[in-house]
Symmetry: C2
Subunit: 288 residues, 2 copies
């Protein structure tokens, strides 16, 4: 039904950035009582992503879908009032996004951002539909592949520690200033630690953006709006120069251009989340 | 120096179970002030595992080393008083075990149980030195491999939720009885949830034990001694019949036989840990 559809005013933010044509449909954030989205036509090869527009973990999967040029539909879910049919479909009881669902009768569903991304990497190996290299890890069997693949996974693990520090800093909004500064210093330490994995040439994965780069990106995208909220200078300190250069380079990649949201949108969403009234769909009603 | 060596009285527990010949050396639990273990001879192909004898995460890596029949030395580390040279070698600032170190001049070091196990899987693919199938995941390129590999990863993710429930139950030893029962019920729920991933034929990974099975095992090994400690009946409820059958089958595999510790040893270690005086090396001095 048309009422399920996201009106895609949001589309304007992505317009001219490529990649949007891969999203064959995107719903507003469906909640308890909303009907199930219709089945895909028989024989469709479109993947389904259960997502939430502001979720950094779900963005990981969107980045990989974009990199691999895979047509997909996005079913956005209200995470406070999850629809019953969504709960019934979730592979893990925690029922978090992202979840990907394969087309066809079997409808294999996978949860967890890394599991979905590694599955897409393995199931859709090789060139993309537009002829570019779609691989996000060195293929098994190429020289040094096990070490290079392990190095990317080690970066992703290091990023997990950064994510913890990120949320301890970002979510403690009512802490005294000294406590905030301590948490900020700890986050900077984790960022420097993460930065140590950057390769000569710029990216975590090597000479071009690969799996580790896309797994790290969503939190780096959210850093400037939160720094702005906390009245910090808008630039990272000089000690994070390599990470800043990486961030600039990532901003130019097609998957980031196709999935990135403007700083003000991240901030408006986070502030609504802090008021315990997350506004998932405000972008679609915005007129400017 | 000989003083670094574990006296390997513990060896008796494994004797006749195979696999022990793969451990070319095992130290006692080295602590602050203990000298660095000597370098391996040039050209050695022996892997190094930094470990702690009772750590379930480190056991994951030991299980994979055993399955793949890879000769390795084990440097055990006192996790309360970590040696400086260990801290300097750890790839992640958290400096947890397991860590594997590759032989050779480069000495690549990897931390995190899953990362070490996936690296070993990829770097040592194919048949083992005794001719058996060493692969722990269906090889990329074989039919259905991406789905089967993703299914194993989903099981490992489900096991993460079980591990959380396991420790909430096991470590809350001073809670009132009703609270303990609630935590036990939640653990049983997670175990049933995990059990739902068992395949026809018995194992999580398919017809034989594979990666997911070995990643789950260490916590199942530790369940009976903890149940005993809390005066629970020694058997899992009938609703976990398939998991009990899996546990029996796992007990017969070579890697489990080669790494398993007796229930009383697990319990004695955990009780020393609860007293905040973990006794890492009591097994080697035991006379019986």
């Amino acid at each position: 039904p048309a009422s399920l559809l996201h009106r895609r005013a949001i589309k304007r933010w992505f317009s001219g950035r490529g990649g949007d044509s891969l999203v064959v449909m995107e719903t507003r954030h469906l909640e308890t009582g909303d009907p199930e989205p219709p089945e895909l036509p028989r024989g469709s090869e479109v993947l389904t992503l259960y997502s939430m527009l502001y979720c950094p973990y779900a963005q990981r999967t969107r980045l990989v879908l974009q990199h691999k040029q895979l047509p997909h539909r996005v079913i956005n879910v209200n995470l406070v009032r999850k629809p019953d049919w969504f709960l019934a479909r979730a592979p893990l009881p925690s029922a978090k996004v992202p979840i990907i669902e394969l087309p066809g009768d079997e409808k294999l569903r996978l949860a967890d951002s890394l599991i979905t991304c590694e599955f897409l990497e393995e199931a859709f190996a090789g060139a993309t539909s537009n002829g570019t290299d779609g691989d996000l890890m060195p293929s098994m069997g190429t020289p040094g592949a096990p070490r290079l693949r392990a190095a990317q996974r080690q970066t992703i693990s290091r990023n997990d520690a950064m994510i913890s520090a990120f949320y301890r800093w970002a979510l403690k909004k009512d802490e005294p200033a000294e406590e905030r500064e301590l948490l900020w210093d700890r986050l900077l330490w984790q960022l420097r630690n993460l930065q140590a994995d950057l390769r000569d040439g710029g990216f975590f994965g090597g000479a071009r953006a690969q799996l580790a780069d896309f797994m790290v990106w969503p939190w780096i995208e959210r850093l400037p709006p939160l720094m702005q909220h906390y009245c910090l200078p808008p630039r990272l300190p000089d000690s994070l120069g390599h990470l800043s250069a990486w961030s600039e380079a990532m901003s130019e990649t097609e998957p980031v251009r196709a999935t990135r949201l403007p700083d003000w949108a991240h901030l408006a969403f986070v502030e609504s989340h802090w008021r315990r009234e997350p506004r998932y769909d405000f972008l679609e009603n915005r007129e400017d």
